[in-house]
């Protein structure tokens, strides 16, 4: 365990450099979704982007994913400007976005097969991954036959299967009930603590961000700006039962919630 916990020297994995994003609304007006965002995400860090809905936090994630081109500025990965999606950055979406015509196993094998991994190897790896996310025995099910929580487990396994260096998680547990959500948070932490991939995690839940992250990036409502970056200095591996009783955890949660309250960020826009 000690070997795993020893931190690698902090090198920048993702750099977001003065990124702004303007969208055209249906009324043909310009809407500034993100305003001059600069952020560095270190290799192996678990970073949450926290903000009220409509603050552009998902857009920021899509820019890092290469799915959306920023209006101004640039995002870089390991110093190289991001110009499109690639297997080095693996997204996990709130909507799961599984391929419904493929079985659970077929979904997980899709990435490795695309990368040219031999069928037998891809299958063996995928079966192992499915076991890791707790879906052994469901390999031949179709996505429609699974619950929301199980679908998101498949989506996570499908993304892990092609070994991205960065996981981009877009409110992945947002569509799940509270109980399932808690279980998936625990499982995600367990999986993450094994290989410590860089994770960019978008959420609007304060507890979720504090529980999971090394760093919480607080954003303001539109135009989305970075309000504050908070280092979460809590020991790992984290156990939910211990953490909930930990005054430091409680203080982080309360402090962050208070900061949002003070700025009226939780209010609805006029």
């Amino acid at each position: 365990m000690a070997a795993v916990r020893a931190r690698k020297p902090a090198t920048a994995m993702i750099e977001i450099d003065h990124v702004s994003q303007v969208f055209q609304t249906s009324a043909r007006q310009d809407h500034l979704a993100l305003s001059d965002i600069s952020l560095t995400i270190e290799d192996g860090a678990f970073v949450s982007i926290l903000g009220p809905s409509g603050c552009g936090k998902s857009t920021l994630l899509y820019i890092v994913g290469g799915f959306v081109r920023p209006t101004k500025g640039a995002a870089r990965m390991k110093g190289k400007t991001i110009s499109g999606p690639g297997p080095d950055r693996g997204p996990v979406f709130q909507e799961f976005a599984l391929f419904p015509w493929k079985s659970v196993l077929g979904n997980v094998m899709y990435g490795p097969r695309q990368q040219g991994v031999r069928h037998a190897d891809a299958e063996a790896q995928s079966r192992a991954l499915l076991e890791m996310v707790g879906l052994k025995g469901f390999e031949n099910f179709y996505p429609k036959e699974l619950s929301g929580g199980m679908k998101q487990r498949v989506a996570l396994a499908r993304t892990l299967a092609y070994h991205p260096e960065v996981l981009l998680m877009d409110e992945p547990f947002g569509a799940l009930d509270a109980h399932t959500r808690t279980r998936l948070q625990n499982d995600l932490l367990n999986i993450w603590e094994r290989d410590r991939k860089t994770v960019l995690f978008v959420t609007h839940s304060v507890e979720e961000s504090v529980f999971l992250s090394d760093k919480v990036v607080m954003m303001t409502r539109s135009p989305g700006r970075i309000r504050q970056v908070i280092d979460i200095d809590l020991p790992r591996p984290r156990r939910r039962s211990e953490l909930l009783l930990d005054p430091r955890y409680q203080k982080y949660v309360v402090d962050i919630e208070r900061m949002f309250d003070d700025s009226g960020e939780n209010e609805l826009p006029p």
Partner: protein
């Protein structure tokens, strides 16, 4: 009880047919009109049509034109519809054209097409092609448009190129919708097949029907209507079987069976 219900579900369409024939029989007897034979007379005329070599050649010619028209239409329309669904440029180019062509009864174009291409197979096949194309394009278009953006993003992150995403994500994701279009197209193929033969009388099932009408052989007319109807039901049932197999993974689990499958 379960078995009883399953049996009932199988027998019900048959009952509906028998009911229709019974109403026909009763109406024909009540009206007592030469141009409206009874169901029994019409059914009696069927074996003589199916036993006649010329009639069979005619029917086979119809089916061949229909198969060619349908296949070519599907092969052209699916890629076009998918491209329209994924590219705003392609959609804005073809949409106005299709909007003009859609409401025009394809058989109404038959006289003009006959002037250009004659009364032979080519004209009739072209009309069938036009009839089938539009619903298939439209449904492929709608299906491709509805494909979840995030699904395509997931594919892009795995390294699929734009062309690969179209073939390996958009096509399978839109398949249920595409096949709905093909099913409509199949029925329209049968309809345009008969109407084209009604206008360009030369050969085919429609030709037998309308020749019989001209000669006042009403038994044959109605027998042909039954035969054409049966062909439609048979083709639709066959297609539905293939469709259900291809999209077993998709949502609706309790489809109302529209055919005898």
């Amino acid at each position: 009880m379960i078995a009883g219900r399953a049996l009932l579900a199988r027998v019900t369409p048959l009952l509906a047919c028998c009911g229709l024939l019974a109403v026909w029989q009763a109406a024909a007897i009540a009206l007592h009109n030469d141009s409206f034979p009874t169901a029994v007379d019409a059914i009696r005329a069927i074996p003589s049509i199916l036993g006649d070599k010329d009639a069979l050649i005619n029917i086979m010619a119809s089916l061949r034109r229909m198969a060619i028209g349908f296949t070519v239409a599907v092969a052209v329309s699916i890629p076009l519809g998918l491209l329209m669904g994924r590219s705003r440029f392609v959609a804005s180019f073809f949409n106005p054209l299709l909007m003009v062509i859609y409401p025009v009864p394809k058989a109404a174009l038959m006289p003009i097409i006959m002037l250009w291409l004659g009364v032979g197979d080519l004209s009739k096949t072209l009309v069938i092609f036009l009839g089938v194309s539009l619903p298939v394009i439209y449904h492929s278009f709608a299906g491709a448009k509805a494909v979840e953006e995030k699904m395509l993003w997931s594919g892009a992150a795995m390294g699929l190129s734009a062309a690969q995403r179209l073939m390996r994500i958009v096509l399978p994701a839109a398949l249920p919708e595409i096949l709905t279009g093909c099913r409509t197209g199949l029925v329209l193929a049968l309809i345009t097949m008969i109407t084209s033969e009604m206008i360009a009388r030369q050969s085919g099932a429609g030709n037998i029907l309308f020749n019989a009408l001209d000669m006042g052989e009403y038994d044959t007319v109605f027998a042909m209507i039954i035969i054409v109807g049966a062909m439609g039901i048979g083709l639709d049932a066959l297609f539905e079987r293939i469709r259900a197999r291809l999209v077993r993974w998709s949502e609706p689990q309790f489809d109302i069976p529209l055919s005898f499958s």
